[in-house]
Structure formats: structure tokens, C-alpha cells
Amino acid sequence: MDAVQTAIVERVAEQHRHHAKGQFFWVWGALLVITAIEVYLGYQNMQPVRMLSILMGLSIIKAALIIAYFMHMKFEVTRMRWLTMASLVFCLAMMCVFFPDAFRILHLAVR
């Protein structure tokens, strides 16, 4: 590793040292609690679409917690945060283009 990279690594390590360890336990606890809520919902006889919406909402919250705290994204520079997350969300959202076709098959009752 060259001197510039070593300097950046040391700076990033210094950032890590400033984060309180307690926040990781809080995030872990929150993730476990949300998981427990999800499992509880799994045992309820809810309408599939409603249940899917709630479960996906909770999953996105869990994902945000993991990315922000465990993957350190909250503490990265703004440019890094926006470029990575915006490109990811854009690409995944583009995949939704297939869903209308799934509904078309359902309505045509093609087997």
C-alpha cells in the first residue's frame, strides 16, 4: 500500500475510533426487535398485499440500519453516499419493469 492509501486508511480508522460502541448494540437490538415483529406478522392472517407492504417496509428499515451503521455509510462523505445509494436504488427500481408482465400473465390466466 502506498503512502497516500496508508494515510487515508489511518484517517478512516481514526473516524471509527470516535464512534461509540454502544450504538452498535442499539442497532443490533433494533434489528432483532424488527425481526420479532416480522415473525409475529407472519403468524397473522393478513391480506398478502398488505402483509407484503408492511414486511418490505420493515426490511427497508433494517437494510438502512445495516448500511448506515454496520457498513459505516452514515459516516462516509456525501458524494460516496449519494453515488452508491442512488445508483443502487435506480438499478433495482428499473427491474420493476417486469412486474406488469407478471400481472398480464395472471390476468390472461396463462398456464
Binding site: T35, E38, F70, M80, L92
Partner: protein, 265 residues
């Protein structure tokens, strides 16, 4: 051609990182972004099948949900120990770092073992793929046999998605093993390969899947032989990014595949 002469060899010239971090980390983020599209495609394929098929099965009984909940808890706990390993590495506490990495690996291994047990159970019950050999002497349940026959998209997407994730967790455990123990991990990996290969019956998909460990042992040996080094905090952090990503993906697989396909009797 440009007329401007560029001066080279300026020692000590500092070029700030565009993303405020080191190259290895940016490289891992780029890999994770591309890998998230792989899992995104698999999750979308599963969802497409589910939407387009009105007779999509809901085969997971309470025992499967409890099993998957424990798997989730293991993964979440492994993420906590991983982040503590990163912290120990930046605090220059190698002993603590090693123990936290070991704890992460154990949680990951527990996840793979529980998942493997569940796969074996489902396959023996009759939920299978054409490439899986039939289980001799097993009494298949009509419910699962019907699912395999009438909705083959279900086992295809289920085993494809969860198998890909299981492979990622396995490779993650190996990655962490190399970071934590370097060359000393290779014999352990070979031992695990022998146990997984000889300890599973010939009809199990894990009998052949165990060879992933052998391939990984060869690749890791070559890497450690070509570039032996002491792994520093940046290597631990980059490995941690990969591990958290594996955890993150499961946060979508668990509700979408398991909780949305629950049949509570």
C-alpha cells in the same frame, strides 16, 4: 496530442480521494453494488413467479419459520461481532479482533448448518429439483410432491435464491478465516471439506457442494503464497463490508420467501 508536459515523480504529492476513503473499500463497494443486482434479479424472479402464478404454494410450516428465525438471529449477531472486530482492529487489539472474527465465523457456520438441515428436510419431503438425486427410503409428503410437479418455478427460485445466498455466506466465512488466521486456516478448511464431503450421503446436494471448500482452499493457498501479508484494519473493514452485505440480503429473503409463504396449522 496535448502540449502540456506532465511532471512525474513528485514525491509526497497528495491527491485526495474522490470518495474520501481508500481504494480497497471503494472496490468492495463496487463489487457489492454489482452483487446486489445479482440478488435483486433473483428476488425479482421469485416475485415474478409468485405474482404470475395464482397457485403459488405456501409450504413453510411453523418449524421452518422458527428455524429461519434462528438463522436470522445468528446472522444479525454475526454482524454485531463483525463490527466489533473492525473496532478492535482500528484500536490495534489483535487478540480481540481474532476472537470477534472467530465469533462471526461461528455464527455464519451455524447459519449454513441450519440452512443445510432445512434444505435436507425439504428435499426428503419431496420439494426438489430435477438435478437433485432422490432420497432413498424417504417418505415424501404429497403436499411437497405436488408443489414440485405443479409449480416447478417454486423449487427452482427457492433453491436458486437461497443456494446463492448460502454460497455467499460460506465464502464469507472462508474470507474471514483467511483474514483472521491466514495460512493456518488452510488445513482447517481442508478438514472442513473432508468432514462435509464424507459426512454427507451421496444423494445429498451438499455431498458435491462441499467441493466449494476444496476449490476455496486451493484459491486461498495460491493467494497467500503469491501475496503473503499481515492484514490490517482496512482489510478487516473491507471483509466486514462483504459480511454485512450477506446479512443485508437475508433481510429481504427471510420475509419475502419464508414469511410470505407461511402455512400455520
Amino acid at each position: 496530442m496535448s502540449d502540456v508536459a506532465v511532471q512525474h515523480g513528485l514525491t509526497g504529492a497528495y491527491e485526495p480521494s474522490l470518495f474520501g476513503t481508500y481504494s480497497k473499500k471503494i472496490g468492495m463497494w463496487l463489487f457489492l453494488l454489482s452483487d446486489s443486482l445479482t440478488f435483486g434479479a433473483l428476488l425479482y424472479a421469485y416475485s415474478y413467479g409468485r405474482i404470475s402464478n395464482p397457485s403459488w404454494p405456501t409450504p413453510f410450516h411453523s418449524s421452518s419459520i422458527i428455524n429461519a428465525t434462528f438463522m436470522t438471529a445468528f446472522l444479525l449477531t454475526s454482524s454485531l461481532t463483525m463490527v466489533l472486530a473492525v473496532r478492535a482492529s482500528v484500536d490495534h487489539k489483535p487478540k480481540q479482533q481474532m476472537w470477534f472474527l472467530l465469533a462471526t465465523m461461528l455464527c455464519g457456520t451455524a447459519f449454513v448448518v441450519l440452512h443445510g438441515r432445512e434444505w435436507s428436510h425439504l428435499i426428503s419431503e419431496g420439494l426438489s429439483l430435477p438435478v437433485f438425486p432422490s432420497v432413498p427410503g424417504a417418505e415424501a409428503s404429497p403436499e411437497f410432491v405436488n408443489v414440485t410437479r405443479d409449480v416447478p418455478q417454486f423449487p427452482a427460485t427457492f433453491f436458486g435464491l437461497t443456494g446463492m445466498h448460502m454460497l455467499h455466506v460460506t465464502l464469507g466465512v472462508i474470507y474471514l478465516g483467511v483474514i483472521a488466521f491466514r495460512k493456518k486456516f488452510i488445513p482447517v478448511l481442508l478438514l472442513l471439506w473432508l468432514v462435509a464431503w464424507l459426512g454427507t450421503p451421496a444423494y445429498s446436494p451438499f455431498h458435491y457442494g462441499a467441493h466449494v471448500l476444496l476449490v476455496a482452499a486451493i484459491v486461498c493457498t495460491v493467494i497467500l503464497w503469491l501475496k503473503p501479508k499481515l492484514y490490517d484494519s482496512s482489510d478487516v473493514e473491507v471483509a466486514g463490508l462483504y459480511w454485512h452485505f450477506v446479512d443485508l440480503v437475508w433481510m429481504f429473503i427471510f420475509p419475502l420467501v419464508y414469511l410470505m409463504s407461511t402455512r400455520i396449522l
